[in-house]
């Protein structure tokens, strides 16, 4: 079932937690709500579930306006950040709680509920833990039980608040794959909250980036990464290298650094954003740009070598990071303190006062 959110606002006292959110969440897809702490992700998720009331705005499930509908008539499954398992019930009783809560007329017979529980326990690969209590489970097991409990009512929509937040990296990765598999099999509409950009990009079909109660960008992971729509999204999706300067006659200049800007005709102050993998390193300046650096640090661990650079003869707020292949590293053998130059392939130019980037490509 698709979700449509129209001009949603939420205030706590005088604090505006959500500002004019409009959003389409497609049917049968996994959507990630991504944003820093306090950006309103949990609040939005709770409003979709009906656990919180919006101050104004509408929410539609499919064609139906459910803004005024109580939680239990929305048919959503909710997985809480800290699992919220019923502590005095066994795993099996936890999972059976949903079906047993149905009104008498709709409630399946006891035997059928038991079958559902068994099936779900198998699905979460924990059939031997049916009679354990939540206090006797590990974090990853609790998380899976919470998921099974939410799925037992056959919800149209599954909402997950930081489903893997409290787990260690290994378990997290396993569970992520497992959830993806589950989703591909059952095709419910899922929305999950995360502040981990890697998780959002890896797991979802669509990412909603939020900041300070507003939606910054909605896109597929690939499109989001390829063309972030604002400075905020850029900063949030991993490291980015920034040079600010003034643009004249198609060149950006600051100190003894300069970059050509093909296709840019206007002038004024601007910042150029360059991603670590969208630039190359060389010993001599090229004809596209002259960006001199000295090498600060070299990190060999990982799929590529990460080189940290300090500007030489100009200034920037944050150090630059560039990734080069291990092959290139051994050919070139750079060392700390060496001088080198950056050559850009693709860049994103923000004019002062403008929050929308202009893509610059050198070919």
């Amino acid at each position: 079932m698709s979700i449509k959110i129209e001009h949603l606002n939420k205030t706590f006292g005088s604090f505006r937690a959500l500002r004019d959110i409009s959003l389409d969440i497609p049917d049968g897809k996994l959507t990630a709500l991504l944003g820093p702490s306090g950006s309103g992700k949990t609040t939005l998720l709770r409003i979709i579930a009906g656990l919180e009331n919006a101050s104004d705005g509408r929410i539609l499930f499919g064609e139906r306006d459910i803004s005024r509908l109580p939680v239990k008539e929305r048919n959503v499954g909710f997985v809480f950040q800290h699992y919220a398992l019923f502590r005095h019930m066994t795993v099996a009783q936890n999972i059976a709680f949903g079906p047993e809560s149905l009104p008498k007329a709709q409630r399946p017979p006891k035997a059928e509920i038991r079958k559902t529980v068994t099936r779900l326990l198998e699905m979460i690969q924990l059939p031997e833990l049916a009679n354990r209590y939540p206090a006797q489970l590990s974090g990853g097991q609790k998380q899976r039980v919470a998921l099974a409990r939410a799925l037992a009512t056959r919800p149209d929509i599954l909402l997950l608040d930081e489903p893997f937040g409290a787990l260690d990296a290994r378990v997290r990765k396993d569970l992520r794959r497992w959830l993806r598999g589950l989703h591909d099999e059952f095709h419910f509409t899922s929305v999950f909250v995360t502040h981990d950009q890697e998780e959002a990009l890896e797991l979802s079909d669509q990412v909603v980036v939020m900041s300070q109660g507003q939606v910054e960008q909605v896109d597929s992971p690939t499109r989001l990464y390829a063309s972030p729509a604002s400075r905020f999204v850029f900063d949030f999706l991993g490291h980015v290298n920034i040079i600010s300067g003034s643009v004249t006659d198609g060149w950006l200049q600051q100190g003894n650094a300069r970059v050509s800007l093909p296709g840019v005709s206007v002038s004024g102050d601007a910042q150029l954003y360059l991603r670590p993998h969208e630039v190359r390193l060389s010993v001599e300046p090229g004809d596209r740009a002259c960006l001199p650096f000295t090498i600060e640090a070299i990190n060999l661990i990982g799929a590529e070598v990460r080189v940290e650079l300090k500007p030489d003869g100009w200034a920037c707020d944050d150090i630059w990071e560039v990734g080069i292949s291990h092959g290139e590293f051994s050919r070139w053998q750079p060392a700390r303190g060496d001088r080198c130059f950056v050559t850009p392939d693709i860049g994103h130019l923000f004019r002062n006062g403008d929050n929308r980037p202009e893509t610059v490509a050198w070919t």
């Binding site: 656990l51 809480f80 919220a84 005095h88 949903g98 809560s101 009679n131």
Partner: protein, 287 residues
Amino acid sequence: MKYQSHHRVGDQPWLRRVLILTAVTLAALLLAIPLLLIFTQAFSAGWDALVSNIGDRYTLHAIGLTLFVALLTVPLNLVFGTALAWLVTRFRFPGRKLLITLIDVPFAVSPVVAGLLYLLLYGRNGWLGSWLADYDVQLMFSWPGIVMVTIFVTCPFVARELIPLMQQQGTEEEEAAVTLGASGWRLFRRVTLPNIKWALIYGVVLTNARAVGEFGAVSVVSGNIRGKTNTLPLHVELLYQDYNIAGAFAAASLLAAIAILTLAIKGVAEWRQAQLLAREPADRNPQ
């Protein structure tokens, strides 16, 4: 003096012994010996005398009235305390903090003062009392008055037990139950109640103990009419004033017995809870 570095701070043997001795002596002097004395005094004239003292018409009536008051007070305060704890821990509303403070008023006010306030308000010449008197309703100096002040004096116990617990447990389990489609009643029965059960029992036990033993507030509003408005604690006082020492101690031993029973129930409640938490998975609901 030689310094024994392997001892923890404060773990010198002499200090330990002194502390233990002090604690035991104080406990004996202040708690155990007085309790024991009540029973020795009650039994001093023999078993038959005790039975006849308790079997006295007025004493029997006092027992009946005391149990009747407790029987009305406990369920009322159970419902009131649970509802109040639910209200202040599950909802945010203006005046919530004030309400939490107000719950403690019966603890802060001396029971005698509470009794006087009720007399002032509901007595024959009181604001509400004079109006009620026009309809021939008399609350003070009869059992409704005793029940009212007892409810007032004991109303914080259940709420006070529940509020910290419910605050600490949070609302997440209840929210989970709602998203799973549970109705309000089912949510309370299956999710909230099991989590607060032992605190609730503890609150009830305390409420009951206080309701049975309350003296100050009740003595102001009861009028001490023998065989009519005399509760057990008042009766003990009355017998004592009459120099009927054996009778006074016989009645007092009943109150002490109720107290010991209360402690026993409380102990069982706590033990059951500890046992529940410590249960091994193998012992649980084998299928």
